[in-house]
């Protein structure tokens, strides 16, 4: 018996002559949260679809819940739940009916009623249980979608960009739900474009770039490879730029756009000190911005190119 919920090796997939996955290996420990990080078009959804038996890989193998995705499809399906990138709820049914539909299809019988009521309660959907899903807000649809996935009490849950397009409050609610699932022992495979989300939730993060995993590790390990936050200062002319360069010796110059990158967390105190120094030397700053590391920084650090270069329009 292995304590790995998901083991994939050498997954390959191409659509036409466009290679989307070029040999992906990954392991997800049972009961943990694994986050697959990548920009638009990186192949996150393709990976989820393959692992959840919706798509056949061109090459490679994977075991999910100890079963082979190709030869033991039914057993895999019995163990997993999938919440896709785009909410797949039935618009012409109410929230409650959507959940009942899932309960009926899972053959829960009389117990289904209880499960549905519990989920409505837990996802704070009881008040809108009787209204059509087509009238739900984006956040409510996402919650209903996830609730539908959980009706069958899956041991492994795939969440494809569960918080994309949600406001910060709904995002936090979603995060709490995920934490609750993990506390119950569920394994979570989560894709996201947000470094912060992976940071908040994941035990392990993998970064997908051009069909390959370019880094795997805990969020802490990954972030150590990323340059910290910095302040960007832009100057109106090269005279100001040059004098600022002499004063701020630890800054990284970008002469092309008359910009200096000064390491620092952008907190009020350090900002004031920075500006005071420039003031002392009567150097005018044209523009100032505080930069915290994001997915693009991870990409730059790990791959040497910006994430945008991966995206095919």
């Amino acid at each position: 018996m292995t304590d790995m919920a998901i083991v994939a090796s050498g997954l390959r997939k191409a659509f036409g002559d466009r290679t989307v996955l070029a040999g992906v290996d990954l392991e997800v420990r049972a009961g943990s949260v694994f986050s697959l990080l990548g920009p638009n078009g990186a192949g996150k959804t393709t990976t989820v679809n393959i692992l959840s038996t919706l798509l056949r890989p061109d090459g490679g193998t994977a075991r999910v819940a100890g079963r082979d995705i190709a030869s033991e499809t039914r057993a895999v399906r019995a163990a997993i739940g999938v919440t896709g990138q785009f909410a797949s709820v039935d618009d012409l049914l109410t929230g409650e009916e959507n959940l009942r539909l899932m309960a009926d299809l899972q053959h829960l019988g009389k117990g289904g009623r209880r499960v549905v009521a519990d989920l409505l309660e837990r996802f704070d959907l009881t008040d809108s249980a009787g209204t059509l899903a087509s009238t739900y807000s984006g956040g409510m649809r996402r919650k209903l979608d996830l609730a539908m996935t959980l009706v069958g009490r899956p041991r492994i849950v795939f969440l494809d960009e569960p918080t994309t397009g949600l406001d910060p409050r709904s995002r936090r609610i979603m995060w709490d739900i995920v934490r609750g699932l993990v506390a119950d022992g569920t394994t979570i495979f989560l894709t996201t474009q947000y470094l912060e989300e992976a940071d908040q939730l994941a035990d392990r993060v993998a970064v997908l770039d051009q069909g390959k995993l370019v880094a795997q590790g805990s969020p802490g390990e990954l972030k150590r490879q990323v340059p910290g936050s910095h302040v960007r200062l832009r100057f109106a002319d090269s005279a100001a730029f040059d004098s600022a360069r002499r004063v701020l010796t630890d800054a990284t110059p970008e002469p092309d756009n008359l910009t200096l990158r000064v390491p620092g967390d952008g907190g009020a105190t350090s900002l004031r000190r920075l500006l005071d120094r420039l003031d002392e030397y009567a150097i005018d700053v044209d523009e100032l911005s505080v930069h915290t590391p994001d997915l693009d920084d991870v990409f730059l650090a790990l791959t040497g190119h910006h994430s945008a270069e991966v995206t095919v329009p």
Binding site: T53, V82, S88, D90, L93, E97, L105, H107, L132
Partner: protein
């Protein structure tokens, strides 16, 4: 066991959809009745159908109109299921294969039969007086249900083959036109050249003639055999095509 259970669940889902969509219900039940009023009361006197009450001539054709009008909704619904993501949810749930389609077939047949029954009921109120024996009534009903089943499978195949719900709904347009170019409203031999040949050889004419004969108590064996052959042909084509498209989708 689980196939029956899953199919029943899907039928319930589709029936709820139908009941919640007033446009679908209007198209399937009310609109054909409105058409019948129009043809019988407004235009009927202008048609020469060779003696007898126009309502007696028109009723079988109106039943066929009722059959066609609801089908667009089915094509759209089937396509929406395939393209709007819910099918992926069903796929990863180990639901017995085909339950989704069974749900559409059963609910569509039920809705259409209801629409046709309503037409016949209203026709009676308008003076429809068939001479059919009980056995002939049963035969007519059987042939009509067979036609519904065949056209439903063809519709489902279209819904599966279409790229989007909108283009799936477009399938209804030729289907709605077809009865007008058959012997539904006026006999084919009163039509202009070209259209007459089309009307004589398209499937709805023998089906309508067969039903008309049964209603009148004078079964038309030739038309009935042709009607049965068309139904089986359309049904088998639709069924095989639908299953192939479905296999590719899921």
């Amino acid at each position: 066991m689980s196939t029956v259970h899953d199919s029943a669940t899907m039928v319930r889902r589709n029936v709820k959809h139908t009941l919640r969509d007033p446009v679908v219900l209007f198209n399937a039940v009310l609109f054909p009745i409105v058409m019948m009023f129009m043809f019988v009361y407004v235009l009927g006197d202008g048609f020469d159908v060779g003696g007898g009450d126009y309502i007696d001539y028109a009723a079988p054709g109106m039943v066929m109109l009722a059959l066609c009008y609801g089908m667009g909704a089915t094509a759209t619904a089937v396509n929406s299921d395939m393209t709007k993501g819910i099918i992926n949810r069903f796929r990863v749930m180990n639901i017995s294969r085909g339950a989704v389609l069974t749900g559409h077939v059963v609910s569509t047949v039920a809705r259409t039969v209801l629409g046709m029954a309503a037409i016949v009921g209203v026709a009676f109120l308008m003076g429809f007086s068939p001479a059919a024996s009980f056995g002939q009534w049963l035969a007519a009903a059987g042939l009509l249900v067979l036609t519904v089943l065949a056209v439903t499978w063809l519709t489902i195949a279209f819904g599966l083959a279409a790229k989007s719900p909108e283009s799936a709904g477009f399938f209804a347009v030729p289907l709605i036109m077809l009865p007008f170019f058959s012997s539904a409203i006026i006999p084919a031999d009163r039509m202009g050249p070209g259209i007459r040949q089309f009307a004589e050889y398209q499937p709805f004419t023998p089906i309508i003639e067969a039903v008309r004969g049964l209603f009148a108590g004078t079964p038309d064996t030739g038309a009935t055999v042709a009607a049965l052959a068309w139904c089986v042909g359309i049904g088998v084509l639709g069924y095989v095509w639908a299953l192939r498209k479905f296999a590719r989708r899921v």
